[in-house]
């Protein structure tokens, strides 16, 4: 029953955690990868319908959201540096900023969803768009990919809250802040997913 550590040293534990999290990221790449594969296949098959679908999306929603997410990543990275210098308060501020920007991202995302609902563009609920039938495949992929991304953001926000609580209780120091590094890696990775979703969904050129 006694929870004994399998590790022989703290360094060993740290590098094991790192490796574990990077393995998780590889898993996540393949998790989103299934969707990216579906996207690539259909985009090659129905280029015109995808371009038409892309033009139904609001360019500025996507662009602003990219900027928001990049900024939140910066805050997270700075927070990581702060705790390495034992600055807990600064870390707390960074975590707060990261989380608020994450929330802002989700807010923009959901207002975009609502906008599409008003435009009758939600498959399975009120899809009534003019255009080629395959355009609905694009819109479906849009909802599934961004929805899954938003779900990961929610998990990330939960993790940030947990970090904030731990930090509040003074659990982190320059020598012990593994959770900050772990959550940071996860948060940056979700950012990267969005970095690819942005051009794939919003920036399809209209070729004639």
């Amino acid at each position: 029953m006694a929870a004994t550590t399998p590790f022989r040293s703290a360094t060993q534990r740290e590098s094991a955690n790192q490796l574990g999290l990077w393995t998780l990221i590889a898993t996540e790449v393949l998790f989103f990868g299934g969707l990216f594969t579906a996207y690539v296949v259909y985009r090659f098959t129905y280029p015109a319908a995808f371009a038409a679908g892309s033009h139904r999306l609001e360019f500025w929603y996507g662009t602003i959201n990219t900027a928001v997410l990049l900024t939140s990543s910066l805050c997270m990275a700075v927070g990581d540096v702060m705790i390495k210098h034992d600055r807990r308060r600064a870390l707390q501020l960074c975590l707060l900023a990261t989380a608020l920007l994450g929330l802002l991202f989700l807010g923009i995302k959901f207002s975009e969803y609502y906008h599409m609902y008003r435009e009758q563009l939600v498959p399975g609920i009120n899809y009534r768009a003019e255009g080629p039938p395959q355009m609905q495949l694009f819109i479906l992929l849009y909802f599934i990919m961004t929805g899954l991304h938003a779900l990961h953001m929610l998990i990330g926000l939960g993790a940030l809250t947990w970090l904030g609580w731990l930090n509040h209780r003074g659990r982190f120091s320059s020598t012990g802040h593994q959770p900050v590094v772990m959550v940071g890696l996860y948060w940056h990775f979700i950012d990267c997913v969005w970095v690819f979703l942005y051009p794939l969904l919003y920036l399809i050129p209209h070729l004639t």
Partner: protein, 95 residues
């Protein structure tokens, strides 16, 4: 690994580079669309991801093994997409 934390200023620099890339890819949509539009926007996305991986996720300071694992997922995804396309891109070719 706690020893060499990167200066905050460098992170801000990376952030500005990321924003520049974003501005670049957003402005590119104003240009007349062409066959190169998508490769360019995906190239920029790759560059952004590389910046995030190397600086924000500090892949630079990690041992080779971790770098290998970081790339493994993308490598496998490339295999997946590539081999799936051997089917979808060659449909309808004569036998």
């Amino acid at each position: 690994m706690t020893a060499n934390a990167p200066p905050v200023l460098r992170l801000v620099g990376v952030y500005l580079a990321l924003l520049t890339l974003l501005a670049l890819t957003a402005t590119a949509t104003l240009l007349p669309p062409g066959a190169w539009s998508t490769p360019i926007s995906l190239g920029i996305a790759t560059a952004k991801t590389a910046l995030i991986f190397v600086w924000f996720m500090r892949l630079r300071d990690r041992p080779g093994l971790v770098r290998l694992f970081a790339l493994a997922g993308f490598f496998w995804l490339a295999i997946f997409i590539g081999l799936a396309l051997t089917d979808f891109l060659t449909r309808g070719w004569p036998a």
